[in-house]
């Protein structure tokens, strides 16, 4: 999943630096992620993992870093298993 997310960020995140230089726990907003790019990122992640972000997870925290995105995606997938 980490690689897929990194590929998506590289494609849609429009970060000034290369994604290889961004650590898993680095703040993506500090790395230059704009709010517009973050929406594109969310759309691409929804498509890639076949999920939909519920509204309570559509906030800065869920997308603050690569590991935060992984956690968010996991959380949605887990809740689907239960349901």
């Amino acid at each position: 999943m980490n690689k897929t997310i990194r590929d998506i960020i590289a494609k849609f995140g429009k970060l000034p630096a290369s994604i290889d230089q961004v650590a898993d726990d680095a703040d993506l907003y500090a790395a230059g992620l704009t709010s517009f790019a973050s929406v594109q990122l969310m759309l691409a992640i929804e498509e890639a993992f076949d999920i939909e972000f519920p509204d309570n997870l559509l906030n800065r925290k869920s997308f603050a870093s690569i590991s935060a995105i992984e956690k968010t995606v996991d959380m949605i997938k887990d809740s689907r298993k239960v349901a």
């Binding site: 907003y29 500090a30 906030n59």
Partner: protein, 393 residues
């Protein structure tokens, strides 16, 4: 020993009403001369209204955003420029109150604001960023305990008249353009060289000149939170809500003038429905929608305040954007309607029914943070945000 809370404090409303009386007296000359509403600003200080938002333990009165919005409306009915200065001061203060309380320097700064009634200005606009305040070109430079900043600030409202400026910049020379911080500079820590003069259609008294800002201060004056968080969690919401309070004030004063005009006509010819009466009913409907919109927005903000996740959620950002769009567009429709009702007496300056100043001031609403930009921002969020289908939620 506990002392009882001072109960002799007069209500915010009574104090704001006295400021409004002074502001109204000078509104036309402030507008005509495009000068700072000095008398109203002095009255705000004399009535100690500049520190009310600050928590009591720091010497303020703990006023809520809702209470301040009401005062913005009261002042907006008298002089929109004075009201906007008051609103912008409190928008800056909300950044300090919500995000600076844990920082020793900023807590001390709030004490000073309350004690000395300091007027705080904002410098978020910069030449070359295309109006997007979430981007900076300039960067703060920190050496040891000192920070230095130079900014081509194309707009600093009442910059020459402020006692301190809160200013955005990149967090350092290597930082990305969206990696911003907000720093407080006191008047004796900066120089301003005027680069643009504010000669505008309306809101002329805000004196939002452009300046080359050069400042040097202790690095402790940089707010410890990223500006992105400050913007999302307090600044955007309080801007849209307090501005909307001012705009409602402009609209309600215009509607009062239209109503007085229609009543006077009705008294002259009892029995016959006066011209403009139907339009007045229409305008009262629009005014009520603006009011409901602002009040609902204030309630949503006060409810979300306790929950940082909700404050930075998309649903909340969409709601606040919508408050701004609706109130800024509708007040223009209202004042324009009022002009039709009052006819030439409304169009002329210096009559009891004049609304030329209202109309010019109201035109600023769609431009301060351009509605096109806000709609663009909302439309991108709507690609992922799900509509809340409940009536009350």
């Amino acid at each position: 020993m506990n002392f009882p809370v001072k109960i002799t404090e007069e209500s915010f409303a009574a104090r704001a009403a006295r400021v409004a009386e002074i502001a109204a007296k000078h509104a036309d000359t402030v507008d005509a001369e495009g000068r700072f509403p000095r008398e109203a600003a002095d009255a705000m200080k004399a009535e100690r209204l500049l520190g009310i938002q600050i928590p009591r333990h720091l010497g303020g009165e703990g006023a809520t955003t809702t209470e301040i919005a009401e005062l913005c409306s009261v002042l907006g009915q008298a002089c929109a420029a004075s009201a906007m200065v008051f609103a912008m001061h409190h928008i800056k203060l909300s950044s300090l109150v919500e995000h600076g309380a844990d920082s020793e320097w900023h807590a001390g700064f709030m004490r000073r604001i309350a004690a000395e009634q300091l007027l705080i200005a904002s410098a978020t606009t910069e030449g070359g960023i295309g109006g997007n305040l979430r981007n900076s070109i300039c960067a703060i430079e920190i050496t040891g305990d000192t920070c230095r900043l130079e900014k081509d600030a194309t707009v600093i409202s009442y910059g020459s008249h402020a006692d301190a400026i809160l200013i955005t910049s990149r967090s350092g020379p290597e930082a990305a353009s969206s990696d911003q911080v907000l720093t407080a500079f006191l008047k004796d820590q900066y120089t301003l060289e005027r680069t643009h003069v504010w000669n505008t259609l309306g809101m002329r008294g805000t004196c939002s000149d452009g300046f080359l800002f050069k400042g040097e201060a202790p690095a402790a004056q940089i707010l410890p939170k990223p500006f992105a968080e400050i913007a999302a969690q307090s600044m955007l919401a309080s801007s849209h809500l307090l501005w909307s309070g001012v705009w409602y004030g402009i609209a309600v004063d215009a509607v009062c003038r239209a109503q007085a005009f229609v009543r006077a006509a009705a008294r002259k010819s009892p029995g016959a429905p006066p011209p403009g009466a139907l339009r007045l009913a229409e305008v009262s409907n629009l005014l009520q929608m603006v009011k409901s919109n602002v009040v609902a927005g204030l309630k949503a903000y006060e409810d979300a305040k306790a929950d940082p996740d909700k404050l930075s959620s998309m649903g909340f950002a969409v709601a606040m954007n919508n408050v701004k769009i609706a109130s800024s567009e509708t007040i223009l429709e209202i004042v324009n309607h009022v002009m039709l009702i009052c006819g030439i007496m409304g169009y002329k300056n210096g009559t009891p029914f004049s609304v030329g100043r209202h109309l010019r001031d109201a035109h600023s609403a769609q431009l301060m943070i351009s509605n096109d930009r806000i709609l663009g921002n909302t439309s991108s969020m709507l690609l992922v945000h799900k509509q809340d289908t409940s009536l009350l939620g």
